[in-house]
Symmetry: none
Subunit: 254 residues, 2 copies
Amino acid sequence: MARKLDRSPPALRAFSLLEVVARADKPLTLGQITEAARLPKPTVHRMIALLVSSGLLVREPDGRRYALGPRLSAFGLEVLLNSSFRAARHLILQALVEQIGETCNFTMLDGAQVVYLDRVETPSPLRMNLQPGSRVPLHCTASGKLLLAMLPKAKRERLTANLPLPRHTAKTIVDGSRFERELQQIRAQRYATDDEEYFAGLVCVAVPVREAAGRTCAALAVHAPMSRMPLARQLEYLPALKRAAEQMARSFID
Amino acid sequence: MARKLDRSPPALRAFSLLEVVARADKPLTLGQITEAARLPKPTVHRMIALLVSSGLLVREPDGRRYALGPRLSAFGLEVLLNSSFRAARHLILQALVEQIGETCNFTMLDGAQVVYLDRVETPSPLRMNLQPGSRVPLHCTASGKLLLAMLPKAKRERLTANLPLPRHTAKTIVDGSRFERELQQIRAQRYATDDEEYFAGLVCVAVPVREAAGRTCAALAVHAPMSRMPLARQLEYLPALKRAAEQMARSFID
DNA sequence: GCGGATATTATCAAAAAATGGAATGAAAAG
DNA sequence: CTTTTCATTCCATTTTTTGATAATATCCGC
């Protein structure tokens, strides 16, 4: 087996290790990292120890695996919130808002919450005020339910197992099995709605943004006071939303 | 102005530079990065060039500013898509705190100390303030004694052999043989308590988190001011703690 | 407990990279 | 055209890193 050594400066090597761990969908053992990074064992061991000591990685409690650390999570979010990436996506959002006339949001899963990466607000003075970076619950928002529904089964179950379903409005889904059915339906129809489940009078539709591999990595959502645009009217914009979502997906690749 | 130089290995320095650029909401000039990173100018220049050549950063068209590169965008995405383990455990803690009403901690052994992996605090304003990542002694905490007690004999004896037992309160166990008996009892009863042994007025109960093979790899602990919840009342929650510990254990398997 | 994997620590001399003060260059500002 | 500011290059020195090898330790299933 041709063991081609990665010959790059340590700074880059270290980053490659982080990428290896980030790409994996479970925590990795040292051996696995060594193999993926094509570096000698002692070297990787030394580097991993360094990364752990600086909070970028953490050892799993099982003592043999390594996962992303809190410092990396914070970093990842900052990267995605960073304006240089926002630029392209912001334009897509703007065009969408222009067409629909209501506030549109670009969101991702962050832990067990939805985080707003970007948004463009309706010109109308009556509107929700949420800044990029703010978080909302999973169980009573269109984005949240959508992102949860589209997750691979293992991850999804890990999250739903202990997800509290606190009531926010009369229409919030607070029953576990009802929630499961809702997710199932969302998975089937490829979009999610929020029918006044978070704020009374506020309705919302979300569609998935799927990256190359087909994984849903983010969501695009429109929301509006139902007095101005009831759910039925919002659903008419599904094709427009989906088109914008595809453009978004492309913006991840470039 | 004391120009404190950042003296860390290059791998970490490089990452700090990325953090600096990610935190900024506009592209930064080399001078700005230099200042924020507290590093000499040529050093930063060289490193930035390296990061640019590897696609982590890009030069803005204006030629003087640097922004996040596409490789970082992809990385940030992976990081956020990866957070489900941490999130799932956090949810378990949250549910537990909701039930008990007092701060709960998820801890493991790190060398001869206990390290906090995660915690959810009581809503009550009177509470200990400890961040995830902080460390506490083994001999006077419920988690510490528990993790020690459940260790395989060989390892345990190696640790206890040279473990100092400094006094923290009147109730701290400072006698070696008394400590041995305590560990023995903990092993028998499968949980540990801290009855004001670390901080006067603070009591604590810990149960083991055991992975598939039955090995104890982490601990789940509740703590509270004894004025609000004396040990006896905390012990009533043992079943709840054990249930949560089992869920934690399940988060290791897949 | 036993044996085969895996992980950690140690060694160490060669090789590579980082270092940072100073000098130089380039570009914007006045 | 001069000044100022910032970016880039130079380079001799110092510091890390490197990675083959190997000894230990630890873990796993049996």
